[in-house]
């Protein structure tokens, strides 16, 4: 299987504080990677580095045929191939669901208007929200908004999808529908990196789980092994209360 | 007689500045008292009080201050009221400040959440007691920044009274310019004098507004 994402020696500082202390990670295409760890372990920062939202000081990231960390890059092209879904949905409040979805295809890809409907229907049906096409974000529940955010990302047909704690802002009864949409996406063979607090979901859906601790990849491997047979004290301490 | 713009000129302008400050203080005091009454009437009074106050505020805010100044200076003598420029200026600025301060303070009173009234009522406080002990203290805190901000507007707007011949700072500048023919030097000096008064007040106003934002997010 080919490599979709390769991170080598990634280092990132906020001022004098070193948040990422040399992260290495390899993701094959079709992989679903769960990144777990305490808050402040650097997992979200790493995710934001991957699509260029955060600059970093050392290391290299190779993703979808682009290399970050070797001089100026065309971040815009990279970002059209790497989708990102945020914790706080970040839908555009002044645009309808359909307009949220078609904004980037229209502005960046110059997709002709005649093909907008088809695209909207295609991505909305994948998250089960065909009937919300003309709604505005504030008319949707948090779970529905997050599913629209996923559909909006899909509309750019990314090769890799990044999910940044996408269920953390949701009420417990709404996380299920979002996780289901992600799981269905995983089953289509999409390469995904998910930063998540949902241990059960990580164990069930992710092919591989990465445990980050103090700005490093502390332990990683197939999800079953990480959760079933943790090797380090830190990982054990982290997952035990979560699995009870 | 053409004379040079020098120390004497600066002293002359400084005397004008004193009048600007005096007029500003008088305007703020008179406009403040009336504005407070209007603000309370506008936000808490019965309909027959709210409506005329709202109309007054709307009309003054839709009329140029210069026209209000002209009306009190040229208009009132026809009613047998002969006002010297100082009185006409104070009257016009008070009418103007009353409308704007009433509007600003009404907003501050209404910015205190409705639930505060309900909570006080539940505790057995009367309407006036609630106003005095619960609503006003909060409304005043909210109002500090915008009120100081409006003081800056008052100081600057006293300049309009120069156009009816009241010798405050701007009129002093015009008179001095007529004598010295050095308009650039004269009006730059005038501008700097206004700036020296207004800028610290603007900074203070910003600081008060920031402080309130910090307070309200901390809650």
């Amino acid at each position: 299987m080919s490599t979709a994402l390769h991170i080598e020696g990634l280092k990132k500082y906020f001022g004098a504080h070193e948040v990422l202390k040399g992260v290495d990670l390899e993701v094959a295409s079709g992989d679903v990677i769960a990144v777990i760890g305490r808050s402040g372990s650097g997992k979200s920062t790493m995710l934001r580095c991957i699509n260029g939202l955060e600059p970093f000081q050392q290391g290299r990231i190779r993703i979808a045929g682009h290399v970050l960390g070797e001089g100026p890059q065309n971040l815009r092209v990279l970002r059209t191939e790497v989708g990102m879904v945020f914790q706080s949905y970040n839908l555009f409040p002044h645009l309808t669901v359909a307009e949220n979805i078609t904004l980037a295809p229209r502005v960046v890809r110059k997709l002709p208007r005649a093909r907008h409907d088809e695209l909207v229907d295609k991505v909305l049906s994948r998250v089960g929200l065909l009937d919300k096409k003309h709604a505005y974000p504030d008319e949707l529940s948090g779970g529905q908004q997050q599913r629209v955010a996923i559909a909006r990302s899909l509309a750019m047909e990314p090769r890799v999808m990044l999910f940044d704690e996408v269920t953390s802002a949701l009420d417990p009864e709404l996380t299920g529908e979002v996780l289901k949409a992600i799981q269905e996406l995983a089953e289509t063979g999409m390469t995904m990196v998910l930063v998540t607090h949902e241990m059960g979901f990580a164990r069930q859906v992710a092919t591989k789980t990465v445990f980050m601790h103090h700005g490093r990849v502390w332990e990683s491997g197939p999800s079953e092994e990480i959760f079933g047979n943790p090797q380090t004290d830190e990982l054990r301490a982290f997952i035990e209360p979560n699995l009870k | 007689m053409i004379q040079d713009f020098g120390t004497d000129g600066v002293i002359f302008l400084a005397r004008g500045l004193m009048w600007t400050l005096g007029l500003s203080v008088a305007t703020f005091l008179c406009g403040g008292i009336l504005g407070l009454i209007f603000a309370l009437g506008r936000s808490l009074g019965p309909r027959w009080i709210r409506l005329p106050i709202a109309t007054y505020i709307e009309l003054v805010q839709a009329t140029p201050l210069l026209i209000v100044v002209f009306l009190s200076f040229y208009g009132l003598p026809f009613f047998g009221l002969y006002l010297p420029p100082l009185a006409a200026a104070s009257l016009a600025l008070t009418l103007y400040a009353t409308a704007f301060l009433a509007d600003i303070w009404r907003g501050c009173i209404e910015a205190v959440p409705r639930t505060q009234w309900e909570a006080s009522e539940a505790l057995g406080l009367s309407g006036p007691e609630t106003l005095r002990h619960v609503i006003m203290p909060q409304a005043i805190r909210i109002s500090l920044g915008p009120t100081v901000g409006f003081m800056v507007q008052i100081v600057k707007n006293t300049s309009v009274t120069a156009l009816i011949g009241f010798v405050e700072l701007t009129r002093a500048g015009q008179l001095l310019n007529n004598q010295t023919f050095q308009p650039f030097h004269v009006f730059i000096t005038v501008a700097l004098m206004y700036f020296a008064i207004c800028y610290p007040m603007s900074l203070w106003s910003e600081k008060l507004k920031e402080k309130r934002n910090v307070d309200s997010t901390a809650h």
Partner: protein, 239 residues
Amino acid sequence: MAYEMNFQPVLSRAPELIEGTIATIELSAKSIVVGLAVGLVVALGRHDGPRAVRTLATVYIEMFRNTPLLVQLFLLFFGLPFLGLRLSADEAAVIAISLNLGAYSAEIFRAGLAAISKTQVEAALALGLSKLQAMRHVVLIPALKVIYPALTGQLTLTVLGTSIASAISASELTLAGARIESSTFRSLETFLVLAAIYIAITIAFRILYALVGRLLFRRKVPPPSMRAASAFDKKEARA
């Protein structure tokens, strides 16, 4: 009260009043267009520009916000010729009022830029939009919506402020009124008529702002009751 009002002498000068009204609207419109453009550029410079640009923008904003418009007008009209730049009264008026509005609107625009959270821009960048595209499609309308009341309030003050331009005899309504007053001696009547015209102009501009607002923020969050009704309508229509 001995005085009896007589509006006839003033109203018989209607052509001058109309001309003055048109001149005031013209002066206002020009100043608003130029002033808002200046304000937007200055706000962007202060938001994103290099340090020197930010400092310059701040100095400009504070200078113009902390001195009277009348003094700014005098400086431009009487002061600049001494530096070799002679402006007509009308030109000086447009420039002074525009620069004044520019300083105020720059602050308002800045507040709008600050009100749109960074995460909205990030979401747009993550979709591959450029910074400029993100500004245009994601920041502009929501930011404008946040500042719209403050901005239109400032525009009203600017329109009323044009009356000050009569001090340098720029052509506008107050100057027309002053001429009528000095030849009819009907001061009270003249200035009452002027007040009425200014109030009418203010109302007209407010209606215009409301229309422009409706165009810019088409739909956007109707009150809850209406929303429930429209959701119901849609359901009905589908059924």
